[in-house]
Amino acid sequence: MRRRPGIGGLQTAAAARDQYRQLGENVAKLRADMMKEQLSTFRSQLEDFARKHKKDISKNPAFRSQFHEMCAKVGVDPLASNKGFWAELLGIGDFYYEIGVQIVDICLSTRPHNGGLISLQELCTLLRQRRKSDREAVSEDDCLRAISKLKILGSGFEVITVGKKKLVRSVPTELNKDHNEILELAQAQGYATVDEVERRLSWTSGRAVDALDTLLDEGLAMIDDGHRDGRRRYWFPCVSPISSSLTTDA
């Protein structure tokens, strides 16, 4: 005979549900506690590590880059805030803050030459020149990190990749695919001609002239009519920095 549901049955079911819930909560709490414990262990280990290797982190760019990578993997951003233990412990926030300011300064002061596009390599060289008073080497990785922090300011600092080179853009100019291809082509010699662009990229003459003229208008290119062959050359200071056009530099 089928039992009809009664008060007793309902109560039993409710009690069972309650117990299940309690058990679930317990398990979840246990897990959370364990997680918290693991995290705090990990955190203290990371702190210990950072404390122990503070010197290496601030002196050795390669080590610093690996430390950042490790932090990124576990979701810790030592640069997220200038307060808190990372900054206090390592002074690392100040380090990047300082580089960031210097990068902005370099980008602005070289803008008349290069139209606001500078190769990461040149930026790094200029940065090192500026910081020669302190011994800490600054790597390209550090530059990239500092620039990524500058994005927060919405000032349009961006790193673009052209061919094998990384360029840092400090003006809001949008470069399209055509412009990028020309910059890539120009990397070999520092300049490009209309002929070359047509031939190497199989473009029509109009397309090549159009793209080159845009780059010229944006201040990213300079013309050179002085060569013996009479062909106009378009030079790009961002891929062939003026300061290194002579190899025997003082």
Binding site: P112, H113, L216, G219, M222, D224, D225, G226, T248
Partner: protein, 179 residues
């Protein structure tokens, strides 16, 4: 770094497009600015007072990169100096130009300084003595261009600091200081 004698040339001097007058305004302004500084700097250190646009001037060509400035470009750079008051055309055809790395007013101040330093406040000197006398040796006045010197002296004369008179025995002009 490339050098002209003992003069250190700036980096842009080896970058070919700087020898072509740039069509885009912002770029051209920067280019002209750099050239103005270079020309003034070079003339100051080498004591050059006059540039002839059609003559060989060391800055107008760079054999290392095989580039030289077109006449148009030379004209543009020097004209920019003229409008800054740092140069003056010597002829209507704009072929020769006086380079004023010190403005005439500054030259006048240098002369006054020179007079005071040497206790010449009430003395008489010839123009040639100012340019090549013992007192001026090693000062900025040594070998100063005569045109510039006369302009500065005339400015001082207007201010009543001196009188210019024609000498009786020589054909050089004499200066009576009354500082």
């Amino acid at each position: 770094m490339q050098k002209l004698g003992d003069f250190k040339l700036p980096h842009f001097f080896n970058y070919p497009p700087y020898f072509t007058l740039q069509p885009v305004r912002d770029t051209r302004e920067k280019q002209i600015q750099l050239w103005k500084e270079l020309i003034l700097d070079y003339c100051r250190t080498q004591k050059i007072f006059v540039i002839g646009l059609e003559e060989d001037f060391p800055l107008f060509s760079n054999s290392v990169i095989e580039r030289s400035l077109s006449h148009e470009a030379r004209q543009a750079f020097i004209s920019a100096l003229v409008s800054d008051g740092r140069a003056e055309w010597l002829d209507k055809g704009h072929r020769k130009c006086l380079i004023l790395w010190h403005r005439i007013q500054d030259w006048a101040d240098i002369i006054l300084h020179f007079v005071k330093n040497n206790g010449l406040e009430d003395s008489v000197m010839t123009v040639e003595e100012i340019r090549s006398g013992v007192e001026s040796r090693g000062t900025e006045l040594e070998g100063i261009d005569r045109t510039i010197l006369m302009r500065a002296l005339k400015l001082l004369e207007q201010k009543g600091k001196l009188a210019i008179f024609k000498g009786s025995s020589t054909d050089d002009e004499g200066i009576k200081f009354s500082v």
